[in-house]
């Protein structure tokens, strides 16, 4: 079923389905645990595709999104620390996307009211790449990016 869904997305014939997925949104705030894993979004290969799959409009570049504890160079791509803070009011979710990974979307964090819009985790990077922080705030999307050099391949290794 899942692969069929992906095929439809790829051929562009799944508009209805697309909007259905979009309607499901990232995660339902406060109900993240129950939310089904968004396979379509995690299967995407490009930023445009990811945005389309989640029903997002073109994100605005934002200086209010910052990376912290995130090195410019990773000694090993198997473990790359990433920290993201959003100063945009009503931040609802923060997503990490790695441009040159086989699948771009890496993680989505749903931020309920009362939780600081700041998360820190570690990702794998197959090669040097731009890393995007995609923030949804008050229904709108914002993005910031950072280039991270990888000195060792973390995938397959």
């Amino acid at each position: 079923m899942d692969s069929k869904r992906r095929d439809m997305l790829k051929t562009g014939g799944g508009l209805t389905l697309l909007s259905l997925v979009a309607a499901a949104g990232w995660l339902k705030p406060g109900d993240g645990w129950a939310a089904e894993w968004n396979k379509a979004a995690f299967d995407t290969k490009s930023m445009d595709e990811t945005l389309k799959t989640i029903g997002a409009t073109t994100p605005a570049q934002s200086k209010d999104i910052t990376f912290f504890s995130t090195p410019d160079i990773a000694e090993n791509g198997a473990v790359v620390p990433i920290g993201i803070t959003s100063a945009i009011p009503k931040t609802e979710s923060i997503a990490i996307l790695v441009e040159k990974n086989p699948n771009m979307l890496t993680a989505v964090f749903d931020i309920p009211p009362g939780t600081e819009p700041a998360i820190s985790t570690r990702v794998k990077m197959g090669q040097s790449s731009n890393v995007y922080a995609l923030v949804k705030a008050d229904g709108k999307y914002y993005v910031a990016s950072k280039e991270i050099k990888v000195t060792l391949g973390g995938c397959g290794g």
């Binding site: 090195p71 198997a78 473990v79 620390p81 000195t151 060792l152």
Partner: protein, 272 residues
């Protein structure tokens, strides 16, 4: 097998970084790698091994359904705090010098009733299907010496002999490449490809190297013990395989650990 390739890849990447860093006016690659290492310190997955090892230490296990809580690591039955900072050492009950792993095997056999072969069966983990209890126990015990200064004894004649034999092994050249430990680790300021090589015959090099093992190896996603470190060095030396908890491994560990005396133990660490 791949390490050389990795080194090559790393080198090429490093050149690229150097150029990029200069162009973008970022910090130097060395500074950035230091930042990377610092960022990793915040959460070291070695803690997962430490926690598993502590559980294992306290669980009744083996044919005798006993825990290791009466195991004497050299400071008395059940004393874990600081024990690793004084190992290897001579144990009268075994009448030999033992390093941590050998001593754990001893306790698993004498107190838990395992056969020696069973206790030594899986020293180095490989993913989820082959988790090594030994590395977990090592992680727990070594973590209880963090911040304590290395104080490896040389009072018993067998401790002195182990040190001298370990030194000989360190300089022992063999195999098709004529390699010995000292080929790479006996001189200051050398590197292999772009990786710095600690001089293990000098106090500074020995301290820095020995006090940061065991370590969670990011490249392998595993916690690696000092026994593993030695095993893998000999593989790259083109020697046959160093047997886990063998006499040669203990003697060599004695030589390297004793040379680190006075330095604060700072492991399990996290390394590339």
């Amino acid at each position: 097998m791949r390490s050389h390739h990795r080194r090559a890849a790393q080198g090429v990447a490093a050149l690229f970084i150097l150029a990029a860093a200069t162009a973008l006016g970022q910090g130097s690659p060395v500074d950035e790698i230091a930042k990377y290492r610092a960022a990793l310190q915040d959460g070291n997955p070695a803690e997962l091994w430490e926690a598993r090892g502590e559980d294992m230490w306290k669980q009744a296990r083996g044919p005798k359904k006993a825990s290791l809580e009466r195991c004497d690591l050299g400071l008395g039955p059940g004393v874990v705090k600081g024990a690793y900072s004084e190992l290897p050492k001579y144990f009268a009950d075994a009448d030999r010098v033992q390093d941590l792993e050998t001593r754990l095997v001893w306790c698993m056999v004498t107190q838990q009733g395992y056969t020696e072969a069973d206790a030594k069966k899986n020293p180095f983990g490989a993913g989820n299907d082959k988790k090594a209890d030994m590395e977990a126990l090592v992680a727990y015990v070594t973590s209880e010496s963090r911040g304590i200064r290395m104080n490896v004894p040389q009072s018993h004649p067998k401790e002195q002999e182990a040190y001298r034999i370990g030194e000989k092994i360190f300089y022992y050249r063999g195999g098709p490449h004529d390699f010995g430990c000292a080929t790479c680790h006996g001189d200051d300021g050398k590197r292999i490809r772009l990786q710095d090589l600690p001089n293990l015959t000098k106090v500074d090099g020995a301290r820095k190297a020995y006090t940061t093992w065991p370590a969670y190896r990011v490249s392998q996603g595993e916690l690696r013990s000092f026994q593993w470190r030695l095993n893998d060095c000999f593989r790259q030396q083109r020697f046959p395989e160093l047997e886990f908890a063998s006499d040669a491994s203990i003697a060599l560990t004695m030589f390297l650990a004793r040379n680190a005396n006075g330095a604060e133990f700072d492991a399990p660490a996290i390394k590339r």
